[in-house]
Amino acid sequence: MIELKENELHFHFPEIHEAARCSIGFQRTLRIPDDDRTWFLPPGLGEFPLRHLDDYATLLPDGWRRRGGVIMPMHQAEALWINFTASGYPFAVKVATGKICAITGEAWVDHLNRDPQDYVVVPEQPWLDGYCVEKGVIRQFVAMPLGEGYSVEEQLTGAALHGGLQIVAYPMKRERHEALRALREHCADYLNAPAMMVADAQPQAMGLAPGGRMKQEIYDDPYGLDAWDQRHGSRCFVTIANSRQWMAITGECPPTEPPTAKQYTEEGLPWFDYYGGDAEAVAGSATLKGLASVAQMGDEKGEIPLPENETPLAPHVIGLRAKGSHRVREFHE
């Protein structure tokens, strides 16, 4: 089952194991420059608000109501990253935007695939910032209005039907977890393991599109497909509403727009680099690599979709490691 607590989705499977819990949140962040460079990890600037979509059902179109799930506001051209938290019980988590897998670029299916791997393993994978375009490189998730052609969904299918984010989480099979735990209890490294405006207009759906390039590895599944209990998954559709309409839908102010990468860097504030130890990274998706980034498509269309896409100079980078340190990359204003 999934509960919504303090702007995070809490997945838990008491029917599998008391410890089978993980949570997923969506972090506000800087939009990295969409240029030819490969950037370090930008900070988290606090969580996007999440609300039960059903609470605002009378204000929303039928298509949105049918999906269920939660609703979240984003400014046009705003970026996000996904934060995974699990205390030690492993999960396989699939993430899609517009029902296109963010790891492989394939159309959404509920089940997991291994070749190529279309999911991340939590807690080994602490974050996901975008689409896996090359081994060790992602293109940042950037919100764009659905229907303008920028989203991954529109670039690959030619249709603007879904938008938003789709997630399914599968816990590890109980017996595999018990065996793994027994093994770890005999291993000295165990203690150091990574812990693990709707009033007069239809709400405008937002989709996610590929932004700037970022250094981030998507880790290969060290357990194998057979480790995951695919009879017990929980799914959630995250509808993204344009932040201008968020207040009309929910009565709440949306978060302010984040600073630009240039402003942030000029204040001497940190970027991050993550070293995941010996974990292997999966290859990037040729399908996703072949897509135009938002800036590239803007050039083709003669539009300027990303205001203030300037390159900051000399970012201050803090290294984070999987073992022996906490993995906080948030910087609250």
Binding site: M1, I2, E3, L4, L9, P14, H52, L53, D54, R65, R66, R67, G68, G69, V70, K99, H162, Q166, S234, R235, C236, F237
Partner: protein, 117 residues
């Protein structure tokens, strides 16, 4: 029934055996209490601290804040606000569920609905 002070002391001492930063003095400093006051609380010679201090103490000791507040004979302000907004509804709900087993209570926890997509 567990006593607030006993639970705090037992938990803190257990943590201190692994990490010296959990001495009474250091924990008191981190949560903004005088060490002598925390010592009295642990020995049940003083009443539990304020809600805010109890929540900070729970965070420090890795305990659930609602559990520690309940041991202190308190209910968190946000829960009070929820009940005050719809007192009849929530009073009835809590009375109906007071003897229900945990799994039955969990069944009324609101799930994020998965729809057709």
């Amino acid at each position: 029934m567990n006593h607030f002070g006993d639970v705090v002391r037992e938990r803190r001492e257990r943590l201190r055996r692994q990490d010296r930063r959990y001495s009474l003095r250091q924990v008191a400093q981190r949560i903004g209490l005088e060490p002598a006051y925390l010592s009295k609380i642990e020995r049940s010679e003083a009443a539990p601290p304020s809600e805010a201090a109890t929540v900070r103490l729970a965070g420090e000791l890795g305990e659930d804040p609602d559990v520690l507040l309940a041991l202190a004979g308190k209910v968190s302000r946000d829960l009070q606000d929820i009940i005050r907004k719809r007192p009849r509804l929530f009073a009835e709900l809590i009375r109906q569920l007071k003897d229900a087993p945990d799994h039955a209570v969990l069944r009324v926890v609101r799930e994020v609905r998965d729809g057709d997509w």
